[in-house]
């Protein structure tokens, strides 16, 4: 998987970035608390993704690192120095916004040169470095174009080149790919990751797309209602979610009624390990991943209700004999038809569990 590859890149690349530390940060807007005591430590050269539904506070957290949002209490440290009193333009950060951030009256080259101009770099040297930065994102040929002549993906690449030209100590990305087409998104996120690891720059990346977060980040922080629910590597979040919200948010899960006896989840005759914090014995709702179920000849009986072709695999919905509808992920060669009677079995992977009450 790509994450293992990039992880090894991270450990071998020089950690030239700064550390970013949020400590007990609180921020409230009129009537609602956006950040409810956030603690976050980002290592040099690391890419941390802030992931969560809209309103969870991830953008507010990012903007308070940049200084575009003030905080009510707590500390924000970049490289060990408290930046609360430092205005945005002195924090030495680079930021990429979701859209519309390129200056419309300047050419691509002038846009990228802007940060250097603010630092009073001489014209010739400015141009040289700006072209270098554009080369990194592959857009040197477009240096004399204007923003409205570029596609969305190209605009964001220019924005990235512009943010990185001054070699800031932290790179902040506020949902940079959300406004782009699906295919461009996938391609561009790999570009961003590649450049980030080459430069070894500490990066915080905000997104609501869990697939994106899992694909690019060294660590992911899942946020809800102003708190970090869990922070860990993508594998940790997927395989061992700390609670049901994380399990539900990251990847797909089936909810199946089960029983918790002596700390073991009993479901359709299988004994499964419980993930996360211990829960009291009794009835629970187990969260089972679609790939942790298979078609078998002697499992739980059910009827197929629908089947979706997803290119490299299929996801089929099956109504089990006890009425629960589950999704199973399987190879494409098997093509179940609606109404077909089938039999499914659990592979036995550990599961998270929810208390059996209406929640969320």
């Amino acid at each position: 998987m790509t994450t293992t590859l990039t992880k090894s890149l991270t450990t071998s690349a020089p950690a030239t970035g700064a550390t970013v530390q949020l400590s007990a940060v609180v921020k409230a807007f009129a009537g609602h608390t956006a950040l409810n005591s956030i603690d976050l430590n980002v290592a040099p050269g690391e890419l941390v993704a802030l992931l969560g539904p809209s309103g969870c506070g991830k953008t507010t957290a990012l903007r308070s690192i940049s200084g575009l949002e003030g905080i009510d209490s707590g500390r924000i440290l970049i490289d060990g120095e408290d930046v609360a009193e430092t205005p945005t333009n002195k924090r030495d950060i680079g930021m990429v916004f979701q859209a519309y951030s390129l200056f419309p009256h300047m050419s691509v080259l002038e846009n990228v040169e802007f940060g250097l101009k603010m630092r009073k770099v001489a014209a010739a040297r400015r141009r040289e470095r700006a072209l270098e930065s554009l080369d990194m994102v592959g857009l040197t040929k477009h240096c004399d174009r204007f923003a409205h002549q570029l596609s969305g993906g190209q605009q964001q690449r220019v924005a990235l080149a512009r943010a990185l030209v001054t070699r800031p100590r932290v790179l902040l990305l506020d949902e940079p790919l959300s406004a782009l087409d699906a295919k461009v998104r996938v391609h561009l996120r790999e570009e961003i990751r590649r450049i980030q690891t080459e430069l070894g720059i500490t990066t915080v990346f905000v997104t609501h797309d869990q697939e994106e977060a899992l694909a690019v980040a060294d660590r992911v922080a899942v946020m809800r209602d102003g708190r970090i629910e869990q922070i860990g590597t993508p594998e940790e979040l997927y395989a061992t979610p700390a609670n049901a919200f994380v399990a539900d948010f990251v990847g797909l899960s089936n909810r199946m009624p089960a029983d918790l006896i002596d700390g073991t989840v009993t479901l359709h005759g299988c004994n499964l390990t419980l993930l996360g914090d211990p829960m009291p014995d009794g009835p629970v709702i187990a969260l089972v991943r679609p790939e942790d179920m298979v078609f078998a000849t002697d499992g739980i009986a059910g009827t197929v209700t629908a089947s979706s072709f997803l290119g490299s695999l299929r996801r089929t919905r099956v109504r089990l004999s006890d009425g629960t509808v589950v999704a199973i992920q399987h190879e494409v060669e098997r093509h179940p038809l609606p109404g077909e009677p089938v039999s499914v079995r659990l592979k036995g992977a550990p599961v998270s569990a929810l208390p059996p009450m209406p929640k969320k």
């Binding site: 945005t88 333009n89 680079g94 519309y100 200056f103 419309p104 802007f114 924005a159 001054t166 902040l172």
Partner: protein, 313 residues
């Protein structure tokens, strides 16, 4: 008979429905419907022809005829006599000065409104006040300023009695061209607010934020980003203000009852008293001159407008 040769698909297609609904003309218009639709345009076309096209053409063309109906260039040449040139000069001067003052003060108000809630109380009040005052011209405006800075005006009297300044010490200037400046500015500033505010509020917050993250100070943002982006809109509004002042008649007519110091008043003289210049058709030549100026100014305005909208993707 096969279904394929069924005639008139509008009549229900496959089913022979007894009920025929007359479809909206959009759906497969027949030739007859098309001609009917064209006929619908004729009332408006006739109206515009009679009351806009015809008067405009007449206004321009009368300048090329003399009193007895012969074709002549005398009237047009008359535009270049020193008196008339001076009149145009005064008009340009008055329009230019009031346009600049109106543009600067109006832009300042728009700046002060940055960040106010769209649809909020402050903004609604200012926008309503602006639309009212932009229309508050002519006779009523003249009254307002006579009451304010006329010989017995409120401000005149206060200044004279409390501070000892007599603003008319060098003669009463209210009823001459310089006296038009203040009344004109009174409707120029609101017009600027109306036309420039959309441009100012189209400044994207991301630009200011990006500028800050790239190390720019407040001054750098305004100098390198906000001002260049706003320049076309500002200049466009300035031109609009110029055109507006240039074509104003009522205020000047109310304050200056006799005389023709600016072009619209010159037209009044030509139309009303046939003896002053001896040629009523002079009005036509003056109208032609005014149209030429207006066309140039409005053309420049439209060029600047297209530049503005290009950047507001």
């Amino acid at each position: 008979m096969s279904l394929a040769t069924e005639p008139a698909p509008e009549q229900g297609g496959v089913e022979h429905s007894a009920r025929q609904h007359p479809r909206v003309a959009l759906v497969a218009p027949s030739n007859r419907r098309r001609r009917l639709a064209y006929a619908g345009l004729t009332p408006f076309a006739a109206y515009v022809l009679i009351f806009l096209a015809l008067p405009t053409i007449l206004a321009v063309v009368t300048g090329f005829f003399s009193d007895d109906g012969t074709l002549t260039l005398d009237n047009v040449m008359g535009l270049f006599t020193p008196t008339i040139l001076a009149t145009f000069g005064s008009s340009f001067w008055l329009s230019g000065v009031t346009a600049v003052i109106g543009a600067v003060v109006g832009a300042l108000i728009c700046y002060a409104m940055l960040g106010t809630k769209v649809g909020g109380l402050l903004r609604t009040i200012i926008e309503s006040a602006a639309s009212v005052l932009a229309q508050f011209g002519g006779v009523m405006l003249a009254f307002a300023f006579i009451a304010t800075i006329g010989v017995q005006g409120l401000v005149t009297v206060i200044l004279r009695d409390t501070v000892g300044i007599d603003i008319f010490a060098d003669g009463v200037w209210l009823y001459q061209v310089p006296g038009l400046i203040l009344p004109y500015v009174y409707f120029q500033v609101p017009l600027m607010v109306i036309t420039f505010l959309p441009a100012l509020t189209a400044l994207r917050p991301q630009w200011a934020e990006a500028s800050a993250t790239l190390g720019g100070t407040r001054f750098a943002y305004w100098r390198h980003i906000a001002t260049p982006v706003l320049a076309p809109a500002f200049l466009g509004s300035l031109l609009l203000l110029f055109a507006n002042a240039f074509s104003s008649f009522a205020t000047a007519a109310a304050l200056i009852s006799q005389g023709s110091q600016i072009v619209p008043l010159q037209i009044r003289s030509a139309l009303v008293s046939e003896t002053v210049l001896g040629r009523e058709n002079m009005a036509g030549a003056l109208a032609l001159g005014m149209i030429v100026v207006m066309v140039v100014v409005m053309w420049a305005y439209s060029v600047l407008q297209s530049r503005t909208t290009r950047w507001q993707q």
